[in-house]
Amino acid sequence: MTDTGTITGVGLALSAILVALTLLISAWRRLGLERDIVVACIRAAGQLAVVGTALHLVVDDDDPLILSWLWIVVMIAFAANTTQRRVGSDVRVTGLAVGAFGAATGISIAVLFGLQVFELEGRALVPLAGMMVGNSLGATVLVCKRLVAESTEHRSEIEARLSLGLPSTTAFAPHVRRSLRQALIPQIERTKSVGIVFLPGAMVGLILAGVDASDAVLVQAAVMFLVLGSVAMTTTVMAIGVGARLFTGDHRLRMPAGTTP
């Protein structure tokens, strides 16, 4: 290891002692996770190496900005695909997820760069968009899964509302509300506890890289607000879209795949 902001290959290897400790815990408690831990760490190192190299091609000051925009488009496509895989085949969400991540990213970028909170350059654009999409992904998958689960677990309740002549959006509204709350609460809790319970990665990275702590705090606060806003936007768009996909045009609740009434 050298000074605070850099790390050598030896330093990285030494930090892997903590991975060995994790393996020991898994073996000691018979968790059966040793293979997963090794694969996860090798994958993470490999992916970061590839991304690091690719980021060089995008975020250097003399790189054209179009490459950064392309990077964001690819990121959104991957996030949408991941959402579909995790939600399963009960409901098609890929296109919707592209729209949700795209809208949230677009609005957030417009606010951050339009109001000149950050200067519009690849160095800021790509990491910030990555924070937005990455942090929104978990909540987006969660809200989709919750909505599908609500539609099957509370089928009788929903059909009781439909039977009173309520349109499907109104009949499903309490379940959308509940699902959105469940998806948003973890991010709100993270926002509340930032700085007290945990120090977020962006801030730690900046401080380790030698940036003044008060500057790092300002960046982190902007990032936290950005993430909160983008999580709220993506989950809301997904909730509205998935809610609509669970019903037919004539206000009937679709049957889950592979079942009959």
């Binding site: 009788s156 309740e157 059909e159 009781a160 509302r161 439909l162 039977s163 009173l164 002549g165 309520l166 349109p167 309490p174 004539d250 206000h251 009937r252 009959t260 009434p261």
Partner: protein
């Protein structure tokens, strides 16, 4: 699963759909308020194909009571306002009075007994002033006394307000007590339709099972 159903109903009071479990009673009922749609053929009310109208409007004219009393969060008044958001308190009191729950308007619906909850469900359905109420074995989860009270209430609503019912039951005694017309289902199709007296002369195992011993 239903097949080859050809049924035309014109009735007063109670049309009871009878049949063994899995014979298609509930499936037939769900077609009537368009909670399900047929893969072929049509369902019509007053000779108008329900596929051509607004399903929400249809469901307000053709109410539905489920087998298990299903109340929503909040008070009895809150439950009625799910069906009719503009319902005034006096109108709600009147509605609850019609089902014998006049003193329960501010009580949490979750604390009602099974029989009371089912009566609240009936009041909630009445809030939309339906022409017909579809009732899917509405007493199946209730004890004897609550069943008797629900039947008395249903009869009173028919006698005083002209409410018509399509009532699903597999209880021969209840069918004999209530039915003006019986539709006997068997293996996904209609085995027989008629008054109880008329069906006595029909030699079909599903009819014998539906009506039981006289």
């Amino acid at each position: 699963m239903l097949r080859d159903v050809d049924l035309e109903l014109s009735w007063e009071g109670f049309a009871v759909i009878a049949g063994a479990s899995g014979s298609g009673k509930t499936s037939l009922l769900r077609l009537m308020n368009r909670l399900d749609v047929p893969t072929g053929g049509t369902v019509a009310w007053n000779e108008v194909d329900v596929a051509n109208g607004d399903p929400c409007e249809l469901r307000r004219r053709v109410g539905y009571i489920a087998q298990h009393p299903l109340v929503f969060e909040g008070t009895a008044l809150d439950n009625l306002r799910v069906a009719e958001p503009a319902l005034t308190r006096p109108a709600a009191e009147h509605l609850l009075g019609r089902v014998g729950l006049g003193d329960k308007i501010d009580q949490s619906a979750a604390t009602l007994s099974g029989g009371e909850a089912q009566r609240l469900c009936i009041a909630r359905t009445l809030a939309t002033a339906p022409e017909v109420i579809l009732a899917d074995e509405p007493t199946a989860s209730l004890d004897g006394e609550a069943t008797e009270n629900i039947e008395l209430l249903a009869r009173r609503l028919t006698d005083t307000d002209g409410v018509r019912w399509v009532w699903v039951s597999h209880d021969p005694a209840q069918i004999r007590r209530l039915a003006n017309t019986v539709i006997v289902m068997s293996e996904g199709t209609v085995a027989a339709v008629g008054t109880i007296d008329a069906l006595r002369g029909v030699d079909h195992p599903a009819v014998h099972q539906a009506l039981g011993a006289a």
